[in-house]
């Protein structure tokens, strides 16, 4: 039996006439890394802010750590850590002072407080920076400190709102190592991101498009649902100019240029790698240098989902 850390039912939030989040339902299991993916303004932060008790929902309900966010916001607050999208620790305080402050806010005191500060510094690998002014930290370290203070009181659930936005790739990898560590220690992680590669680390992903949760599943399941089939990557000459001919090839669902090559997706029930390869190589003015099978990315999923949403909107508007 799994334990549900977060249960969301028909949650919605409107600002005046504008619906920022519309009728969202999902649940997150204990210790899971749950990713929330969506373009700017999709409603990710609004969802997180509702779940952490910063914003009242205008419809629906949610239980966080077993507490109703509308009825027991204080109990919710005691059970969560929150890292806001905008860095919001105190720049004029040192690393240690920031941690001590949040520790004090959570009722930690005296020797227990300083022990926990040291522990936290250790866990985010910032012991040597304890006395550094927060203003002097580069972005990646600031984010790590923010994570440390969100986890200071050992909450069973943390909400991380774009924790790696604007951070260099090496720091991002480091950061995700920390996230996987806290998740395997049993902490539930609810994280939003813009980066598709990061989303791969999540156990399950919710896709937000314009305030609606359009898909929710494991990365693998999302890929096979939204971008079914096999993908072959071609590199060579004349490929991009031949895209429309490639698309007309038997069994091919889609062909797109991708980086310095072309991705061709086809239905393995109708054709095989060999016949697709042969068909592409046989096209006039095309020289294939390299062929390899590739995995669908979440980017593909995201684009497909956004497309379908747009189509739905057009169809909905026409009827």
């Amino acid at each position: 039996m799994t334990v549900r850390s977060i249960v969301v039912e028909g949650l919605g939030r409107r600002f005046g006439d504008f619906v920022a989040v519309r009728d969202v339902s999902f649940h997150v299991e204990k210790g899971e890394i749950f990713g929330y993916l969506g373009a700017n303004g999709a409603g990710k932060s609004t969802t997180i802010r509702m779940l952490s008790g910063l914003l009242e929902p205008t419809s629906g309900r949610a239980l966080v750590a077993g507490h109703d966010i509308a009825k027991a916001p204080d109990k919710v607050k005691a059970s969560i850590g929150y890292m806001s999208q905008k860095f919001s620790l105190y720049l004029d305080l040192t690393v240690r002072e920031n941690l001590e402050f949040f520790g004090g806010i959570y009722g930690s005191w005296g020797r227990a407080l300083s022990r926990r500060v040291d522990e936290t510094l250790e866990s985010i690998d910032m012991r040597s920076l304890a006395e550094t002014s927060t203003a002097a930290l580069p972005g990646g370290l600031r984010q790590r400190l923010a994570l440390g203070s969100a986890l200071f009181h050992k909450p069973p659930i943390v909400f991380l709102d774009e924790p790696t936005a604007g951070v260099d790739p090496a720091s991002r990898r480091e950061f995700w190592k920390l996230i996987r560590g806290i998740s395997s220690a049993g902490t539930t992680v609810f994280v939003t991101t813009h980066y598709m590669d990061e989303a791969e680390y999540c156990a399950r992903i919710g896709l937000m498009v314009a305030g609606k949760l359009v898909a929710l599943d494991t990365p693998a399941a999302l890929k096979s649902e939204w971008v079914p089939g096999r993908i072959l990557r071609f590199e060579g000459e004349g490929l991009v100019r031949a895209l429309s001919e490639i698309r007309r090839t038997h069994g091919v669902v889609e062909a797109q240029s991708f980086g310095n090559g072309v991705h061709v997706r086809f239905d393995p029930g109708h054709t095989t790698d060999q016949s697709v390869l042969a068909a592409v190589a046989a096209l006039p003015a095309v020289k294939v240098r390299l062929t390899e099978p590739v995995e669908a990315t979440l980017e593909d999923v995201f684009l497909a989902a956004a497309d379908r949403k747009a189509e739905d909107a057009v169809r909905g508007g026409a009827s």
Binding site: L54, S79, S84, Y90, G107
Partner: protein
């Protein structure tokens, strides 16, 4: 839906739970206060504000507030009615500093003259003036000053004295030759409504209120707006901290700073301007702390509503400086204001603070006499803090 394993800290009884909650609140307040103190330490501008501004303003105003005035309106009472007394009066008013606006038959009319605001002073040349001059003796003129006109009182005194001195001296010299140089001239002064005969005594309580109002309101005006601006308030509000705990915690360091500023004002007042302390020190302390709390609360409320440090500073300066200067009885006596302003002055806390200060310092009052002032100051402080907490909650949603 399965119940999660996480629960809050187990407590054995409701009483233990309440105690637990109380100590939690206290710890959160202490944490906020410590953090706020660190902000002050890192950016000592508020320190300078609290410590430097009172001294600078007090010296500046204490010495300079008597903006140089001429044509000070004076009523003449010539009891001597001799050519000499007429001449001395002509000479006194010739300089233009003092302006004769009328004559009266005796000093008894001074009360009515001041009450009707016809003049700021009554100059009395007593019977025997001409003989005194003839004999080279001191002229014992009398000057009755309306002490409510604190600004002009000091100048009137000085100008009347020097004008009389040079007039009687010149006349003595004419009558007796250069021998007269050593002859003393005396002006007996009586200040009405301000028996201290010194305007600073009257000014310092007003200044104290004015300075404390500015300092205290400015001190807290940035404390919340800064957190709105940097969005650190979001981080605070996902913690179990309550709005009133944030407000109390933030008040602590600024309250201490305000107390220091307050003491500075009184020490400088006593030391430089010899302001006495005739009444109950405890009453003085109560009034001061209540006023301080109200002003800090006002700054906090502004800080919560403004959301932006620049707006907060501007609003704080306007709302503390103008009323405590103009509507408090500091510069303009409340009795002489137009009725609408008199009504408004009823909600200006500086008015009650100044009244209490003048009472305790100059008139030797204690709790019974300033009870109403204390009541009004308490009401204002409670109102500000209550409104701040309420607004804070609303602004967050």
């Amino acid at each position: 839906m399965t119940a999660p394993t996480e629960t809050s800290a187990p407590t054995s009884s409701p009483r233990a739970a309440r105690k637990h909650a109380r100590s939690g609140a206290l710890r959160r307040i202490v944490a906020i206060a410590r953090k706020e103190a660190l902000h002050v330490q890192r950016d000592p501008r508020s320190l300078y504000l609290a410590l430097g501004m009172p001294i600078v303003l007090l010296l500046l105003f204490g010495y300079g507030v008597s903006f140089d005035m001429d044509h000070l309106p004076v009523v003449l009472v010539d009891e001597d009615r001799t050519p000499e007394s007429r001449e001395i009066a002509d000479r006194v008013f010739a300089s233009g500093d003092l302006h004769m606006v009328g004559r009266a038959s005796s000093g008894d009319e001074a009360h009515g003259i001041f009450a009707r605001r016809e003049a700021h002073a009554v100059l009395i040349l007593p019977r025997g003036t001409s003989e005194s001059i003839g004999r080279g003796e001191a002229v014992e003129a009398q000057l009755l000053i309306d002490g409510v006109e604190a600004n002009s009182a000091a100048q009137l005194q000085g100008k009347a004295e020097s004008a009389l001195r040079s007039a009687s001296l010149a006349m003595s010299v004419e009558a007796m030759g250069p021998r007269a140089v050593a002859i003393p001239t005396e002006v007996r002064l009586s200040t009405w409504f301000n028996p201290e005969e010194r305007s600073q005594l009257y000014l310092v309580p007003g200044l104290a209120a004015y300075i404390l109002a500015i300092v205290a309101v400015l001190l807290t005006a940035l404390t919340v707006s800064r957190e709105w601006e940097r969005s650190s308030i979001q981080q605070l509000f996902v913690t179990p901290v309550r709005t009133y705990e944030i407000m109390l915690g933030k008040l602590v360091p600024y309250f201490l700073l305000g107390v220091v500023a307050e003491m500075t004002v009184f020490v400088v007042g006593a030391w430089v301007f010899d302001v006495p302390m005739r009444g109950d020190p405890l009453a003085l302390a109560s009034a001061s702390l209540l006023f301080l709390l109200g002003m800090l609360g006002q700054g906090m409320l502004i800080s919560i509503v403004a959301r932006n440090q620049m707006v907060a500073t501007q609003v704080a300066t306007m709302t503390s400086m103008l009323p405590s200067m103009l509507l408090s009885g500091f510069v303009f006596p409340i009795e002489n204001m137009p009725l609408p302003l008199q009504v408004i002055s009823n909600v200006v806390p500086a008015r009650y603070f100044i009244h209490a200060l003048r009472g305790v310092l100059l008139r030797g009052n204690g709790f019974p006499e300033i009870g109403f002032d204390l009541l009004m100051l308490t009401a204002f402080a409670c109102l500000m803090l209550f409104a701040g907490t309420k607004r804070f909650k609303r602004e967050l949603a």
